[in-house]
Symmetry: C3
Subunit: 397 residues, 3 copies
């Protein structure tokens, strides 16, 4: 099992001790080495699974998932990651629970965590709220652990918040690394992170923000393009600018999809809602102002409709590097004439990239598992050697 | 553990290699030997469990269940089968997911399958759609596997479609085999697969069709009886006729419950909707014609009500072989004066057969597990020997 | 692992053979030794988990949960207990099932139990129904087992019924035992089990009844206080009186919160609905009388509102033994100015007891696991020794 030595050698060169007993909120809160450790551990877990070596490090234990927005792929990715490590998923479905009775976050968090080793939360709809909620949960269970209420401290994994979508963007980046044959090949590559038209309303900003905050660390030229009025959070742009400065890349902005696509090596055309509108919506929801929400929705759809030309067409793809930029999407995409009349991407473009898109998504379960593992295991190199030595097959047959 | 040698000897005499790496859609797509292999493996798994030998062949892995119709027993049977083999069930609840956004079957199927070893689907409501949907899912994940998106190919198990209900009918048949003391005793036995009155509307045709398509392979005289207008799919009748010809049995039809019950060894009285009405309903649903659906429902209930005399009464049971035909039902039954005023079966008949009925149902988890196992394991004989040698107890205590 | 010898020595002195192959409905149906065995096994399981020894006694098997009322903590406690022992939880969500078709309890119970080792039920809303329903389920699966339908007899655990809430009250008592340093220190301690005002309607009586039925066995002076009209079930009061007589404690009643709190060592202020009103509601629900239910609700809220002074205030706490009574609550509490304008307890009191309250709750998963284990394992002492000898880590890393 020489491949494990390869991963372990990489890990030997990285400092990631700060992840032990920690949480994963935002990629830019992690060091360069920590980010690399996640990719390395993700790939190692995948290699072990492909080699039929069980990576169950928990004989029992729960992985709690709390989704405040509908989800298929993130839900299944989290379930897959937990299962890979031996944790049983329990969904905290707020509808089935007594949380509405007015109990505090601190209380709920502790009550569900007596045997929880990880809590995964998706809470992306309300600007200024999602990430804060995750911190409140993480603080609560940390306090519960220190108070002797919980026997273990559950790790919190951000499955998408109002600021970042770290499991998605880390999966995206690992896909890019594999596609281009290594991190060393990414310097100077141009990434077009652009808005695209969608007939639906209120998509989160976490993907463009997450891309801006992560991809700028790899020496790439990240170009963020969107129509006027579709700005992302200024704090995240600031992070991106600083990252680019440090990594030797650039972070540029425009209001032109064509400018973004020109000579791009990677394109990520995707709809999102205007930051200001999302803020307004958060206030309206807070006030229970249903009429206001409906009016806002109408207004936003009309605003979107003014930018139907923001579509990833064959023509636009031709303008990319050699006409062959790597097309990315977090899925599901709004595909013109397939899932809607006019959407983010032409059907022929999407179809040509279907297999790479699915491979992009396939990294997510392993990235999540790696985040959990690095919070639980101080010496993953030793663990991997021990797992190989244990020799339990994932499939016995 | 001599019993394992017994099952292995049976398997040694069967050719079932075609099931490896395959799916299970319709019983008549499987060879005689393959059908026997399912029964044998099901019985072997049961014997091992009764002997407290763990049959967990997966240390980790997911079993995805997708129910497009309410279900208790099939849902729990699938969950039990997965659990018996070591797979954790994850329900794909379309309500909680983003599937409504318009993504394709191919995409969803791959997105949920990164760690899925089996996908079980129930989709029985729409004529011409359910089985086709299952094939679309199976094709998608096979393609995903070949494209390197998925690390394993999930096996598809049909948990009830518009054409067949293979896990039910295989469980029914295994019950019959045990009841009559072996397949060799089934030749010439008369089976009355008959329609029965129910006050409810739109029950699937998959059970009568599945029985016609499976039981005719055992040299039995299968008599399908229903009121005029309650025809099943002609293609399935054609399968039944061919099967009977090959097996030395018969497949006859009538519009008389009494004719069916006369001298029957086995009776299976059960309500279903007319094929033509189900087709019409499929179209109405496709068009979103709610008024049309309501009108059709009213019409169908009125049509049903014209046949309230199609009930499995004590008097009718008296006309069966020795008055002691084996009464079958897939459950839940509409029991007269218990679950409804007028139903499929008299309470006294149902009560007398309660224990056999429950035993009939008890075969389903093992049949499902056997279908999964035969798609995953090339040499089950070796696996069984290995499981015994491994000696892990299911219950340690 | 000397600690196991300590627990085993305690178990050696107890007669609890009657729990083997049994169910857990009401604490007062269990002997003193059996109750002690639950506490001892719960503590042993906790000690093993803290020592990273896996207590998975099931390699496969299902734990069925059936909640007929919303729940967070009991749901997660049951899931945690099952997971700790190796059982996978499957929720029987009546909405997703076919139970509405009119099938019997006996049938459903068997259909879901082919691989079920435990069934946990919460059914607390209807006086005279919940406990009876649990018995019907337990009887059905016992019969199924004896008839050869089920290969194992699932144990039934009462997760809250109309009469008792044994997993809660046993967890409460284990918390008290730990707090006061042993059962021997409880004699003569005064417990104030009192009603408290809540703006919500129809809370179950199972906690005050469970406390009256359990705490009176420990030689304590249990004082039940509530406004006139909030009586609990007379049968349970009778149990409490008999218990007190046998244990050398007392069971007293009053209509004064102040009288209850005076010199109390333990206070348990909690809202509940009047027994007579709950009976009336059961009838109204049975008749489908929605207007009647709404009228009753209005009436009950008005009745509650007449007793807003029944609040656990700082002033009242001052009157307890040394001003330092142990404050208990099953959570979630109605906290004044936090979860409601006027509630059961002052925020400052609740906050001061937050850590003990969470510890109180932390006993529940272990108590449930102990109840299951004692129904499954005849010689837990041998099991514990075997688990230590097996040496499987819960967390391998």
């Amino acid at each position: 099992m020489a491949y494990i030595n390869h991963f372990n050698a990489t890990l030997d060169g990285l400092h990631f001790g700060g992840m032990f007993d920690g949480d994963f909120f935002l990629t830019w809160e992690k060091t360069w080495d920590e980010i690399q450790a996640v990719f390395t551990v993700a790939d190692a877990l995948r290699a072990l699974r492909e080699d039929n070596v069980s990576t169950k490090i928990f004989e029992s234990g729960l992985g709690i998932s709390l989704f405040r927005d509908n989800s298929t792929r993130t839900r299944f990715s989290f379930a897959s990651a937990c299962n890979l490590l031996g944790l049983e998923v329990q969904d905290l479905d707020e509808g089935k629970s007594q949380i509405a009775h007015g109990e505090t976050v601190r209380e709920t968090a502790n009550m569900i965590s007596f045997m929880a080793d990880v809590i995964g939360i998706r809470d992306d709809m309300y600007i200024g709220k999602g990430n804060a909620y995750m911190h409140a949960v993480a603080d609560a269970v940390k306090e519960g652990y220190l108070d002797g209420v919980l026997e273990q401290r559950p790790t919190l994994v951000n499955l998408q918040c109002d600021i970042d979508h770290p499991t998605q963007c880390m999966a995206d980046m690992n896909h890019i690394i594999h596609h281009f044959g290594g991190i060393e090949n990414l310097k100077g590559k141009k990434v077009a992170m652009t808005w695209a038209y969608s007939p639906s309303y209120g998509k989160p900003l976490s993907v463009p923000q997450g891309v801006a905050g992560l991809f700028t660390r790899f020496g790439m030229d990240v170009h963020l393009a969107h129509p006027k009025g579709y700005e992302v959070m200024p704090e995240v742009e600031e992070v991106a600018r600083k990252n680019a400065l440090l990594s030797g890349g650039t972070f540029t902005k425009s209001n032109s999809m064509d400018e973004a696509f020109k000579d791009a090596d990677i394109v990520y055309p995707k709809s999102w809602a205007p930051f200001a509108a999302m803020e307004k919506r958060t206030t309206l929801y807070g006030n229970g102002d249903d009429a206001g929400i409906k009016a806002l929705e109408k207004e936003l759809l009309a605003q979107n409709a003014a930018h139907k030309d923001w579509e990833c067409t064959e023509k636009r793809m031709t303008a990319t590097r050699g006409g062959k930029a790597l097309y990315l999407h977090c899925l599901p995409a709004d595909i013109t004439d397939v899932s809607c009349k006019e959407g983010e991407v032409a059907a022929s473009v999407f179809d040509r990239y279907r297999v790479p898109l699915y491979k992009q998504a396939s990294h997510k379960p392993y990235v999540i598992a790696a985040m959990i593992l690095l919070a639980k295991v101080k010496y993953p190199q030793k663990l991997f050697a021990d797992l190989v030595a244990r020799g339990t097959n994932r499939f016995f047959g």
